[in-house]
């Protein structure tokens, strides 16, 4: 023990490093008080009412970044998707401004091409992750280049456990979904989109191909016939790239489009 605790072997080196550390620590402590930057107290109060999951849905790096952006006036108080209307109201009251009405959005998988209705090009025997599967030539086993691959990348990244893989397709449980949008950006096929929760119309296909090409690979794909656009009493639907685009400001969730759709590509969520 005495050799272990000898002056030369242990104590002096410890003292030197400890002294160095202490010296630097003192300098840093001095600098911290000398160069202190006054932080707006509202930043920490805004930060406290935010959920603190750092999902990044607001477009800022984490809840801290968003709190700073709100207080400095760069960001609106209603950008926190997981927090919803409650957090928006709380943030707005701290900032002393009124919160704009915030429409809750939920994720929706725009594909109905389960393995029994959609053709498969080849047997994929690789890593069970969509981001890996799209790297394979042909970008995944599905014949339709736009469809959901169903390997569950979105389910794995969802922080709320709101996505499950059912029958080879990702399905969002809209009650659990907070609309943070992490799945949207993680999906290599870009087949998930955020839709307003209070509107029922959901376009369940992403194929921009022409009708006959869609029919060749999937029985339930949208053929871009435009019937929905014609029957919509509000004129809320237009066709772009062989797909219906719903203007949710005009949509009244009447369901006329879903009834007339020949391929059942438009669904009613409720």
């Amino acid at each position: 023990m005495s050799s272990l605790l000898s002056l030369e072997g242990v104590l002096l080196p410890s003292a030197i490093l400890g002294g160095l550390g202490l010296g630097f620590g003192l300098v840093l402590a001095l600098a911290a008080s000398r160069f202190r930057v006054e932080v707006d107290p509202r930043v920490s109060r805004v930060r406290e009412v935010l959920p603190g999951i750092n999902c990044g849905a607001c477009g800022y790096p984490g809840c801290d970044g968003y709190a700073e952006a709100v207080v400095s006036g760069q960001a609106k108080p209603n950008l926190c998707a997981p927090g919803g209307a409650d957090v928006a109201a709380a943030v707005a009251s701290i900032m002393g401004i009124s919160a704009e009405a915030m429409v809750k959005k939920v994720a929706f998988v725009r594909c109905k091409g389960s393995p029994d209705v959609a053709r498969v090009k080849y047997f994929y025997d690789g890593v069970l992750d969509c981001r890996e599967a799209v790297v394979v030539p042909g970008s995944g086993p599905k014949a339709c280049p736009f469809g959901c691959l169903g390997f569950g990348t979105c389910a794995a990244v969802c922080p709320f456990g709101a996505i499950r893989i059912e029958n080879g397709l990702a399905r969002v449980e809209s009650l659990l979904c907070t609309g943070c949008g992490i799945c949207v950006s993680s999906c290599p096929k870009r087949v998930i989109e955020l839709v307003p929760q209070d509107k029922a119309v959901r376009v369940a296909c992403s194929s921009r191909h022409k009708g006959q090409d869609v029919k060749r690979v999937c029985q339930l794909g949208c053929i871009g016939c435009g019937l929905c656009a014609r029957v919509c009493p509000e004129g809320a639907i237009s066709i772009a790239d062989n797909l219906p685009v719903v203007d949710f400001d005009k949509c009244t969730s009447c369901g006329a489009c879903a009834q007339r759709c020949p391929t059942r590509s438009i669904l009613m969520a409720f």
Binding site: L12, P13, I16, L20, G21, F24, V27, A31, F35, V135
Partner: protein
């Protein structure tokens, strides 16, 4: 050894990334955009010169006289970590725009092996104070140069539409890096 030859040797011939292979992490991680490459480059120049100066003082004024040269790794890391903290605090107060521009790169440099590497190289070559600072300045300029070139190349590569999917992103970046290292080997002949 005159200072000019140290400077040019450390920029081109012994380029810290492409010849010594130190600091490869930011070379691949922060080279996708020219703007962020520039921010990282400036931050490294700043920190590396400061760190070399202070580690030289710590080594020659504390460790050598007391006979504890072997503590250099620990004490250098201590110096670099404390220095980066200090620089961050001072910048935040004195020059907020620069602080914002450097952003996350400043704390990242704490763990950049190039900074520690240059301090150790200076020590191993028994450089004097001015030689150490010159070598660090040259090495950090070399880092800046390599990072900036890489970012420029990668921004253009991103525009390619014919590149197969399996080569996009990191794979082509690694191929680019190796070709750049080969090109920098050409500088060996001039010194």
């Amino acid at each position: 050894m005159n200072l000019l030859s140290i400077l040019f040797a450390s920029i081109f011939v012994n380029n810290i990334i492409l010849s010594l292979f130190l600091g490869c992490c930011p070379f691949l991680g922060v080279s996708s955009r020219i703007m962020s490459a520039r921010g990282m480059g400036f931050a490294v120049v700043f920190v590396m010169v400061m760190a070399s100066a202070i580690t030289w003082v710590v080594y020659h004024a504390i460790l050598v006289p007391l006979g504890f040269r072997y503590l250099y790794t620990l004490s250098f890391i201590l110096v670099i970590a404390a220095l980066v903290q200090l620089v961050e605090m001072v910048l935040k107060k004195v020059n907020p725009p620069l602080y914002k521009a450097l952003g996350i790169f400043l704390p990242l440099i704490t763990t950049n092996c190039a900074v520690l590497g240059i301090a150790v190289i200076n020590m191993n070559r028994n450089y004097g104070f001015l030689e150490s600072v010159t070598n660090a300045f040259g090495a950090s300029l070399g880092f800046f140069l390599a990072l900036y070139l890489m970012a420029g190349i990668r921004e253009r590569l991103d525009l390619s539409e014919t590149m197969p999917a399996f080569m996009r992103g990191l794979p082509i970046a690694l191929v680019t890096a190796s070709l750049m290292a080969l090109a920098f080997m050409g500088f060996v002949g001039i010194m």
